[in-house]
């Protein structure tokens, strides 16, 4: 096994998905399964985890230094990529996807691969509904916005009540933590938590399972290695929806 230095790639194209989210296409394809992520080296700034939104793209929401730098990148700029890492979604049969905001990114390649029957897409407001067009071609798309500017007025989780969840073999979820937590509760109430697959966002330093900064309670599982996708039964009575650890390891509660 040789060295695995970060693969340096040129940005070939930047697509404006929503007023805030940018998709960065890069020069080489990365073989991956939907749900897997890469560590993206933003030279001079930091290295951060990002889902692959396609074999040759990441889709970024600017929230801090590294993501903002990425969103400001142009054709010809260069980034380093390590990975792909993690397990990804594992589906067959009927699959429901539930996505909120930038959480749509890892679910997009699953849907475009024809693996998603029904797709529930949520965002704060209509213009922030990412990847709407491709998703509506590939799946049966239902939409919700917090401000009611499009689709259901309210949380995307409310759309769950309109579906017969039992028909889905898998329910794949990615989005803000409170949203994911709510989905887990709904599934648990129906005894369907085992069909849920939740892609977690946790602070990651190494991405390869050595540092432990992404471990979740109480299992001690590593989001970067045993995750980022966990089944609902793995997450019952876990830290999900209660707290995350920041870069120093201090717990930050959701309120």
């Amino acid at each position: 096994m040789g060295d695995r230095m970060p693969l340096v790639m040129e940005i070939t194209d930047v697509v404006t998905e929503t007023p805030r989210i940018r998709t960065l296409f890069f020069s080489d394809s990365i073989p991956f399964s939907p749900g897997q992520f890469v560590m993206v080296w933003v030279p001079g700034v930091d290295e951060i985890p990002m889902a692959l939104s396609s074999p040759r793209s990441i889709s970024v929401l600017p929230v801090g230094d590294a993501t903002r730098t990425l969103c400001a990148m142009r054709e010809g700029d260069r980034i380093g990529i390590r990975g792909p890492f993690g397990n990804g979604f594992r589906v067959q049969g009927q699959t429901l996807a539930v996505a909120g905001g930038i959480g749509t990114a890892p679910l997009l390649p699953l849907a475009l691969g024809g693996k998603v029957t029904t797709f529930l897409l949520g965002a704060a407001t209509a213009p922030e509904l990412a990847f709407r067009a491709p998703l509506s071609c590939a799946t049966t798309l239902h939409v919700a916005t917090d401000d009611g500017s499009e689709g259901h007025h309210g949380m995307v989780t409310a759309l769950l009540d309109e579906l017969v969840l039992e028909v889905y073999d898998h329910i794949c979820v990615c989005g803000p933590e409170p949203m994911m937590h709510r989905v887990l509760q709904v599934l648990a109430e129906k005894g369907l938590e085992g069909r849920g697959q939740f892609s977690l966002h946790r602070y990651m330093k190494c991405g390869i399972g050595v540092c432990g900064s992404c471990s979740i309670d109480p299992s001690g599982q590593r989001v970067c290695r045993e995750g980022p996708v966990f089944t609902g039964d793995q997450l019952l009575d876990s830290e999900l929806g209660r707290y995350v650890r920041d870069g120093s390891g201090v717990r930050r509660r959701f309120d």
Binding site: P6, K205, G209, G212, I216
Partner: protein, 295 residues
């Protein structure tokens, strides 16, 4: 292969279920991940190194995966005193708190936060890529002695982790011994660097980092061998260990126990696997093996 007779191990005052200890900084950040490693067969576990102030460490990239090792510059990310919350659930288990500071007083202060919750301390005097901490102070015998004394004064078993990046390791080991260390741990990572030729930049955010894993095993064996001849307290061997055979080799060099770090990444179950190969009823007594290559 040589098999050892199973049994508990007392190592510089820490009672352990076997000779295999989780190394500092690997899955040692949360109470539950430490518990996971103990449940997976580690005889004891050293925590992530905890310091006087909370920090997220160096900017990334923090790690480069090499064919034969790992290069890292985490930069000692740690929750500082808050770490007590993580330790709360581990009381009574063979957990050793790794601590660091910039002065003997800081070392003592940090250690004192956890004195009621751990089986002992390990002083990180050896991280090769943190300004003003770790190896920056672990290369001076006087400072090593004082820091050790400050922590040892708390009355718990006190291990001192050494850096291989020194001209004369025995001198540093002896300083730790004078300061009251109950064991020395050798070695931390070897100072190293890789450069991205495409970006014309060192890959690590911190530029410099520390090499661990297979590549440093022969260096670690040498360090343990040197220390075994120069200190009276037990030596704990760490660096590149991945198999039961490696454990035996490290013990023959003089290690009374070993720590395992990088190899846990691919396989957190490695402790159980190695123990399964290493121990057999009727096996050789560890006393016969430890240091036997000194002839």
């Amino acid at each position: 292969m040589i098999r050892l007779v199973p049994g508990t191990v007392s190592l510089g005052g820490v009672e352990m279920a076997n000779h295999l200890v989780l190394a500092a900084g690997i899955l040692g950040t949360t109470g539950s991940s430490i518990r996971r490693v103990l449940e997976a067969g580690a005889g004891a576990a050293v925590t992530k190194s905890i310091g006087p102030v909370a920090s997220a460490g160096h900017p990334g990239p923090c790690v480069v995966e090499l064919g034969d090792g790992l290069l890292n510059a985490m930069g000692l990310p740690n929750p500082s005193r808050e770490f007590g919350t993580e330790l709360a659930s581990l009381k009574g288990l063979p957990v050793v708190a790794s601590v660091f500071g910039g002065t003997p007083e800081e070392f003592r202060k940090v250690a004192s936060w956890f004195r009621d919750r751990v089986a002992g301390f390990e002083l990180n005097l050896s991280c090769p890529h943190a300004e003003g901490y770790g190896a920056a102070i672990g290369t001076d015998p006087g400072t090593v002695e004082e820091c050790t004394r400050a922590v040892a004064s708390l009355g718990l078993p006190t291990w001192v982790k050494l850096t291989p990046n020194v001209t004369d390791l025995p001198v540093i080991g002896q300083a730790a011994q004078r300061g009251g260390a109950t064991a020395v741990v050798a070695v931390n990572t070897v100072r190293a660097m890789r450069i991205s030729t495409e970006l014309r930049l060192p890959v690590l955010g911190n530029r410099y980092g520390g090499l661990s894993g297979r590549a440093i095993f022969p260096i670690a064996v040498r360090c343990v061998y040197e220390l075994y001849e120069s200190v009276e307290i037990p030596v704990i061997g760490v660096g590149g260990i991945a198999t039961a055979e490696d454990v035996i080799e490290m013990m023959m060099a003089g290690a009374s126990a070993v720590q395992i770090g990088s190899a846990v990444r691919e396989n957190p179950g490695i402790f159980r696997e190695i123990a399964g190969e290493l121990y057999r009823p009727g096996g050789v007594s560890p006393e016969e093996i430890v240091g036997c290559a000194h002839g």
